[in-house]
Amino acid sequence: MRLTGAQIVFESMLREGVRHVFGYPGGANLPLYDTFVQYPQIQHILVRHEQAAAHAADAYARVTGEVGVCFATSGPGATNLVTGIANAWMDSVPLVCITGSVVTALIGRDGFQEADITGITLPVTKHNALVQKAEDIARTLKEAFYIARTGRPGPVLVDIPRDTQQQLAEFEYPERVSLRGYKLPEHIDYGQVKKAAQLIGESQRPLILSGHGVILSQAFAEVRTLAETCDIPVITTLLGISGFPGTHPLALGMPGMHGMYWNNQAISNADLLLGIGMRFDDRVTGRLKDFAPHAKIIHVDIDPAEIGKNVRPTAALLGDVKAVLQVLNKEVHPKQHPAWRAWLREQREQHPSIALPETDKLLPQYVIHKIYEATRGDAYVVTGVGQHQMWAAQFYWYDRPNSFITSGGLGTMGFEVPAALGAQVARPHDVVWSVCGDGGFQMTSQELATIVEYELPVKFAIINNGYLGMVRQWQQLFYKNNRMAVKMFSPDFVKLAEAYGMVGMRVTDKLQVESAIERAMAHPGPVLIEFVVDEDENCYPMVPPGASLQETIDQPQPSREEATTRR
């Protein structure tokens, strides 16, 4: 069957099960958009900025487990995707980004809206390709989807010149890919599994560090079985949150820079760490040379480059987390660690890191907690980056698998708005709460238009403290309280919401929180609530940058430095 390059793109997407595309048209991808009308099976969501297309596709992929797809035109359209692609790259999210490129005759000649997007995205994609012949499109897309979703997932970019989109070629979708340089772990090393089982058997003070890999490989039941069988408490990394039920008796919450005090002490005292689908990131480990000084390490990961990158494991289990744990769970024997559990309980009682302070002030932590109570954990929580993100990680118990969508590795402010959009498109009947900072929200707030246009009932909670809070916190603690460029003017968020045609509310009093959240939940459409919170609240516990986990500050010390503030 002879089709145009653009038709081949759509036929390929249909065969890959694509149902939604987040995109933005422009000169170089016009043939794709011209062809879009022939494919009503695929819904297009017109964002207001290409960065949002990438973030929305990212959250869509996280929520569904499918590959997220976004379209952009050449030049600025493509470069606007870059932050979103880098975000997906750092958090191992499967994306296929299809960009239009200037016509082949203009490539490399500084054509209008030309950017070398395969060159630009080289370090932040799992793979990318410039397709110059229509006959190569089907194979390239087959490979793109395969590479994006297999192994350690990641973004793949395919750049197609405008004339290639119009060129005719015979279409046949390949059944298989043949990539001799693409390696996936195919066998589980049984010797390492035995060794890991033995280490677990010998351990007195074991901990599981459950990461994003657990969610990506849907290994919820396997982690739970391992934890319960061997009585191993479970720490969830930021991206691992909602991989293990937050209210489970073995759940310990988050470790690291803003992790629970007890977790950081536990890691420092443990004799065995099982890092499962996580990469011992610096925000988790603190100063690396003092990380887990008494622990042997079992590292389970699908990416061989992660093994030994930051820590040297005693046993390395390379492979898909779910497959590896299924084998490991058959090798371990039930055991109990009453002394270790008691020690942990004692730590929690002595340092109740996230106790809600008794105060009449409107604290951000209280807002998060009230959202948890209102949703009873049955919602997707999407965040941006900063203090509100840490509070959302600390004060909400994620009892639903894969319900916390956040920008972890790249730490992309502004993720919260388009990611909520993508999550809601993927799950139109579920509750999606976007917890935003007043700073990050303003980076991508144009997407409210998209949200209203597509009737997506996202609930926004802007935690407005009038500051770029996390930056201010660092200035207070490590830069002599020299508050440069952190006090931030914001528009009237309620009016802004109304301008976009959605419901806006402002909450300034603790007593109004509950009813505002309930009203938002009861409203069928999108709602924005601005919570004007206490501006001085900071995020604790905290491990100072460059310090070890043992040096975790549980509670703030009053600052003696006088503030200097400049915008």
Partner: protein, 187 residues
């Protein structure tokens, strides 16, 4: 950490941009590539690259793993610890006069190098060997005045039946990894 010279061989798809992808991984970690030689391998469609880098073994290991993840890289191996033959070729343009020519020729002869071009004022010396040999010849010829120098960079091959070679089987679509994952899930 101890630094040493590492000889790394990669077999890569013969496609545009591959060198850029690989070089980018070294660059990202701040490595300086001391030499790089690229050419065809015994397998059609696969190029063979030989890198020499001066760095700590652990750091090299990390980059090698990252490079191995590139889809276009079929195989990569640090062969520093192998028993291997390594060679480099150089062309050296030396200033020569009637008075110095015979002395230069004697040196060239001792190094089993050859003269590939002669003019009244210059000679081009071609020499093959390990880097140390090339370095000594260069030092000796330096006294006469080196006008131009080009070196190919090291190429290396393990001795005997050991080969730098990818798995014979091309990677095929594995059925259990082919589909998307089920949405949602239970703990």
């Amino acid at each position: 950490m101890r630094r040493e010279h590492h000889t790394i061989v990669a077999l890569v798809e013969d496609r545009p941009g591959v060198l850029n992808r690989i070089a980018s991984k070294w660059r990202q970690r701040g490595f300086n590539i001391e030499s790089l030689a690229v050419g065809h391998s015994e397998t059609p469609g696969l190029s063979r690259m030989t890198f020499v880098v001066d760095a700590a073994t652990h750091d090299v290991e990390q980059v090698v793993k990252q490079v191995d993840k590139l889809v276009d890289v079929v195989h990569i191996e640090d062969i520093t610890d192998h028993d291997m033959v390594s060679r480099e070729l150089a062309m050296i343009k030396v200033r020569s006069t009637a008075a110095t020519r015979s002395e230069i020729l004697q040196i060239v002869d001792i190094f089993r190098a050859s003269i590939v071009d002669v003019t009244p004022d210059t000679l081009i010396v071609e020499v093959t060997g390990e880097e140390a040999k090339l370095d000594s010849l260069l030092q000796l010829l330096g006294e006469f005045g080196i006008l131009e120098l080009c070196r190919t960079g090291r190429i290396a091959m393990p001795r005997g039946s050991t080969r730098v070679s990818p798995d014979e089987e091309p990677h095929l679509l594995l059925p259990h990894l082919a589909g998307g994952r089920a949405p949602g899930g239970i703990y």
